[in-house]
Structure formats: structure tokens, C-alpha cells
Amino acid sequence: MNCAFDKEKLTGYYDGELGTAEKAEVERHIASCSECLRDLGELKSAALLVRDLPRLRAPKSIAEGVSREIQAAGKVHVFSRMRRTVLWASAAAAGLFVVMNVMYFSSKERNAPMTEGAPAMVRAAAKADPMASTPPPAPAEAKDGRSLDLAKSAEDADRADVRRNAAPPMARQEQQPAPQKNEELRKANDEEPSRKKVVAADKEGGGAKPGAAPVTAPPPPPAPAAMPEKPLTAAPAAPAAKAAPAPAPAPEPKPESKQTTDALAEKAAAKRELDAVPKTEPADAKAKLGAAGPPPADLPPVLCNVVTTQLAKSRTRVEESLKAIGIALPTPPPAQPRAPRNREAENTLVLELTESQFIRLKEEIEKPGDARLVVTSPVDPVLPAFGRGGLYGPKKDVASSGAKAPAAKEAEAPAGGAAKSLADQGAPEPRRKVTLHLVESKTLPAADAEPAKKQ
């Protein structure tokens, strides 16, 4: 039982898996070794017992189940192929849809700016090169001819202005009135946007004309930019537009050859209208505080103090009084950044009032009884009464200084009275610049009689 022979070779020998040499070796060994021979016999017996086990037949369920699964897989395979095809087709269609939309909207965006900004583009092009012979770029909606007409008239007007301003030798004979003419032309140029608005509005109101088609929805001109410089003229721009249809010759059809002359005529007519409007201005005209240039006033300016026992009340009182008589409070100038606070400017109001408006304002201010509107001289005696600190210095008796005020008022009364008589007669009242100082005092000056009554 201690044979050292490799017993695994016996298994190989039995299974016929040994090479020729190994096989011969095993045969020589087992011929002389009973132990290995016995082991070989036992290995064969065990193998034979297993080999003799009956073979089993596979049940039908195996083949049927496999066949069923194959058929189901085949259908799924086809379906998945179809689904894949459908998915690819859907993805392609979606991609095509997206691409088309992008192209459509990008083309729309490209066209839109040209349509909306066409007049601005035309003006910019004309100003940049007014003597250019090439026509301005045609806007996208030129097919109806509306903006094209406007562009052409704008270009021609600009060319006329430039030529005029160049001052040919013949025109130098009119050097004296030239500045006035230039001033008129400058004003006309400044008012050109509003004229265009007038022309546009007129064209809209004038109905369809073959030559000058009505302009629908022209872009709003930069008129507001020019308005603050001329408060009197800017405010009535809208009424001028409304009044334009009657006098303006715009509705008439203009052949293209006459556009230059007609444009000048339109400018002159528009200027005449604008100059005439201040006499019929509505009550809500605004006077700017510290305006660039004082508006022409028919009457000399007057200084007044609105005296209250509480400075905080005085501004509110003045605002309410102005609102009651239908006058808008002038807008204060924009506060400069990092500038020290100007209290005096905050408590000073400059208005343009007629005499009747002034009287009504005084009545409104003094109605509650806790404020007084005192007319003073140009050298305001009231303010010095407050001493070195101005409004915030030691306060002196105001009543004594207020006594001088009526004298100044009386001096102006005749003019005011004359104005009032004019008002009584129904003629437009002259206006004056009224500067209101808001002041605070422990005691109020005595109530003044109406200037008119003291006459």
C-alpha cells in the first residue's frame, strides 16, 4: 500500500488519455504491482457504475418552451426594429422642425429691425452724407411706398438746409437778415421731428391720397428731446398736431419735383403755428425752475414771500394752492451728486403767472389763515430780517419789514391793475415771473388788502 507510483496515471490509462510512453509505463507497472492493479480495478468499477446509469429523455416541454421563446423573441426583434425606425424618423422630423423654426425666426429678426428703424436709418444716412447722390436704403415695407415717401422728403429737406447754410455768394447780400433766417431755419430743423409728426398725423387724417399715401404708425420722433429747451413751444406740440390739419398744406398731393419747396413751406407754416400757440396755451403750461433762459414776461418780475409759522407747511400749502388754481408745480432741477444741499433753492419757487392767477394763488394760500403771501422788493427785506443765518438765523420782527412790502406792491399795482383791466376786457393777460420764497416766522404779517383794491 505504499506504492509511490503516480496513481492518477491509472485514471488516464483507464480513460485512454495517456501517451504511448506513459501507457507502456503503466502497463509495466501494473504487471508487477498488485496494489496499483487493485486500484485500477476499483476506479474502473466506479466509472462503470456511473456509465450504466440510464440515459434520460428530455421532456417535450423543453423544446416547446424554447420554440415559444424563439418566436416571441423574433416578434420583439421585428417590433424593436420597427420602433427603432420610427424613433429615428421622429427624431429626424423633430430636428428638421427645429431647424426650420430657427431659420424662420432668424430671418424674421433680420427683417424686423430694418422695418422699425427705417426712418431713423434714413435720417442718420442723410445727416452723415447729405450731399450723397445715392438714395437711402429702402426699408422692408417699401412696397406700399409710405416710409419711402417720408424718407425722401426728409432727405430733400436736409439737403436744402445744407445748401442754404453753405451761403452761396448771392445770398451774402442778405447778410443782415441772414442770422434771423438761420435762426428760423435752425428752429425749423429743430422742429422738424414735430413737423414730421404733424405731417404724418395730417396724412393720417387727410385720408388716402395717391401721391402722398397716409403714413401709418411712423416711429415717434425725438421731439421730447427738444421740448425741454422750449417749454412754451413743446407743450403745444400735441395741440399743434391737432390744429395742423386745417392750415397745413400737407394733404395736397405733391409731385416729387416740388418736395423741396413744399418742405420749406411746411416748415414756415409749422413755425407760425407754434409761435401763435402760446397765446392760447392751456392752464397746465410748466415753468422750469432755474430755466436756461427766462421766458419773456410781459410784466416785471416780482418777489414774494410765503410766510408760515412752520416752514414744513409752507411748501405743501403752495402746492395745494397751485393745484387749486390749476397750475402745475414747477419741477425742481435734478440734484447734483455730491453737491451740498441747497436749502434756499429748495424753498424757492419760480412761476409764471398772470395777475389773476397771482391773486387767486394769494387767496388760496391765505385762506386757511396760517400763511401769508407777501410781495417784497427785489432786495428782499424779509430775508435780511432773519439775520446772518438767513432763514435759520435769529428772527426779527417781520411785521415792520412787511410794511415796506405794500409800498413795493403798490408801485407795481398800477401795472397789475392795468393788466387786470385788460383781463376784464377779455384780452390775454400779461404774465410775470413770480419768485416765491418760503419763509418761517413766529408771527404772521398782517393780511394785505387786494392790490387791486388799493388802487
Binding site: 496513481k7 492518477e8 491509472l10 485514471t11 488516464g12 480513460d15 488519455e17 492493479l37 487493485r38 480495478g41 476499483e42 476506479l43 474502473k44 468499477s45 466506479a46 466509472a47 462503470l48 457504475l49 456511473v50 456509465r51 450504466d52 446509469l53 440510464p54 440515459r55 434520460l56 429523455r57 428530455a58 421532456p59 417535450k60 416541454s61 423543453i62 423544446a63 416547446e64 418552451g65 424554447v66 420554440s67 421563446e69 424563439i70 418566436q71 423573441a73 423574433g74 426583434h77
Partner: protein, 207 residues
């Protein structure tokens, strides 16, 4: 018609003439009937091996069916480096090992009185010998069930199925030298468990 059951429509006659390699190629071209032919060719042997390995007829049927279905699904991956039978055996035994590990349940004897399950009767004998034979087969099956999975598998593949060492090495994915040593050890184990019968058979085998 199917060679196993005339009632079941089987693959075409020409497919029966084709070798396994050609049938596999046709399967890879989505000819499902070719795979039906492959199933018909190999299902009995695979089922028998798996049944002896598992010791349970019902489990073996499920395992073999799954194995063929898996083989169909992976048919595109079969490169033809080995025989189809080797490949399907490997799949089946892997499936059986996984199944046995997941479902530990008492072994149901594969021996029944249903003679239809037996393809090749082991011994043609009289009823008495048949009874002794069945007893011996049961003992042998019981002894197989007591072996470790690896030993059992190699015994079934070699002694029951008659595969060569190369085929066993490919099915079990082990080196050829390992097959001989494992088989020798497995046979020694089986012999120890069948000691009561070996003595008698040894004398028969030796003669």
C-alpha cells in the same frame, strides 16, 4: 416533423443534414428553425447530464430550457472556437450550479416508474435483475449526490456522457492536466461511497 414526436411540426429535413456549425451560422442569420434543430439534437444528452448532476428531474427540465434560451439569445456571441455541444453544456451546467445554489431543496429521485423517461435502458434483464439494477442505480445516484459539485460534474461528463479530457476542460474551463487529477479524486470519492458494491464489481471489472 419532429424526430421525437411526429405530432409536433419540426424543422425542415434539410436542416437535419447540416452540421452544428452550419446550423449555428443560420441561427445567427435569424433562422429560428435552425435553432430548433440544434435543440432537438442536443436536448436529451444535456438534459440527462443536468438531471444526473442535479438529481432532480423537474429542476433539470427548467434548467435545460433556460440554457437553450440563453444560448439562443447569445447565439451572436458564439464564435465557433468550440463545438456547439461544448458550449451548450457549459451554459447548462453553469445554469444548474446557479440554480442549485439558489434553490436548496431535497433531491427528488429521478427514478420513477415512467419508462418513457429512459432513452437507453442501462441493462436489458429480467425483472429481478431489473430491480437490483434499479437499486444499484439509486445507490449510485445517491453517491453522486453526495459528491462535491466539481467532482460530480466531472464524473457525469466523463463517465456518464463520455466526453474527452479536452472537452471536459473546455466545458469546465479548467486545464487539461487538472481534469485527470480531479477525475481521479472524484472516482476515489465515489468508490469510497460505493464500497459495499465495488468489491463485487471490482471482481467483474477486473475480469
Amino acid at each position: 416533423m419532429s424526430p421525437l414526436d411526429p405530432q409536433v411540426p419540426g424543422p425542415a429535413a434539410e436542416l437535419r443534414e447540416l452540421p452544428d456549425r452550419e446550423l449555428v451560422l443560420r441561427c445567427q442569420r435569424n433562422e429560428s428553425r435552425a435553432f430548433d434543430e440544434l435543440v432537438g439534437r442536443h436536448q436529451d444528452r444535456v438534459y440527462s447530464a443536468v438531471a444526473r448532476f442535479c438529481g432532480n428531474a423537474e429542476d433539470a427540465a427548467d434548467i435545460v430550457q433556460r440554457a437553450f434560451i440563453n444560448a439562443f439569445r447569445k447565439i451572436q456571441e458564439f464564435k465557433g472556437d468550440s463545438a456547439f455541444s461544448t458550449w451548450i453544456y457549459r451554459i447548462a451546467f453553469n445554469q444548474a450550479i446557479s440554480f442549485r445554489r439558489e434553490n436548496r431543496r431535497p433531491t427528488v429521485s429521478i427514478y420513477s416508474k415512467d419508462d418513457d423517461k429512459v432513452v437507453e435502458p442501462a441493462v436489458e434483464s429480467n425483472p429481478t435483475e431489473k430491480t437490483e439494477s434499479e437499486e444499484t442505480q439509486k445507490k449510485v445516484q445517491q453517491a453522486l449526490d453526495q459528491l462535491e459539485e466539481g467532482d460530480r460534474q466531472i464524473i457525469v461528463l466523463k463517465d456518464l456522457q463520455g466526453h474527452s479530457y479536452d472537452e471536459i476542460a473546455e466545458i469546465m474551463q479548467i486545464p487539461k492536466g487538472t481534469v485527470r487529477s480531479r477525475l481521479h479524486r472524484a472516482r476515489l470519492e465515489l468508490k469510497a461511497k460505493l464500497k459495499a458494491y465495488i468489491g463485487t464489481l471490482t471482481e467483474d471489472a477486473a475480469s
